[in-house]
Symmetry: C2
Subunit: 111 residues, 2 copies
């Protein structure tokens, strides 16, 4: 399997980039959003998400900013950097290629 070498960071990263691409979002919110939007199919784990966010911030794809709103504890909001925006597009296209490839193999089959 190739599709870039990091298909897993790939698929998690694709989700993160897509979510943050819509509006600034904090980690815990991403967990809930991805779960809600996927119809409870996609259950990211905290131990997977947060390290990924840190790594993507280090890699210059995301920019994080602490905010403490009127209620609750402080949240770290992430937004896309320009580099992150390019990566988001690239990842989305890659996903579409994967989906197309899988259709080519699974698609023409019964049920």
């Amino acid at each position: 399997m190739n599709f870039d070498r990091e298909f897993l960071t790939g698929s998690l990263g694709t989700v993160i980039l897509a979510l943050v691409g819509e509006r600034p979002m904090y980690g815990y919110e991403m967990l809930q959003e991805s779960q809600r939007r996927s119809g409870n199919r996609l259950l990211m784990k905290e131990g997977t998400l947060y390290p990924a966010l840190h790594q993507m911030e280090r890699a210059g794809l995301l920019a994080g900013e602490w905010r403490r709103g009127e209620s609750g504890r402080a949240r770290k909001y992430y937004r896309l950097t320009p580099k992150g925006r390019r990566q988001a597009q690239s990842k989305r296209r890659q996903w579409q290629a994967i989906a197309a490839a899988m259709r080519g193999i699974l698609g023409d089959q019964h049920g």
Copy 2:
């Protein structure tokens, strides 16, 4: 990400099960078939495929049989066991769930 714990064996395994589900096939043929059908997008590596085949045979999903045809060297043909057939269906459904989940997150976005 969950979708079973082994999404990677998952996606490779899904491809193998789908191919062998159509007709008995040998390893090298799977490499070419998956590449051809995916429009050169899916490039499985031998070092990934063969160990996976052995593991799936040990797990009782595939049954292998050596045949030496009229030409070329001996090939090991694999076919699905009943257990493998059930697994193939399950994996295909899982893939469709993944694709649906990703559409839920990426789908409603611009190109």
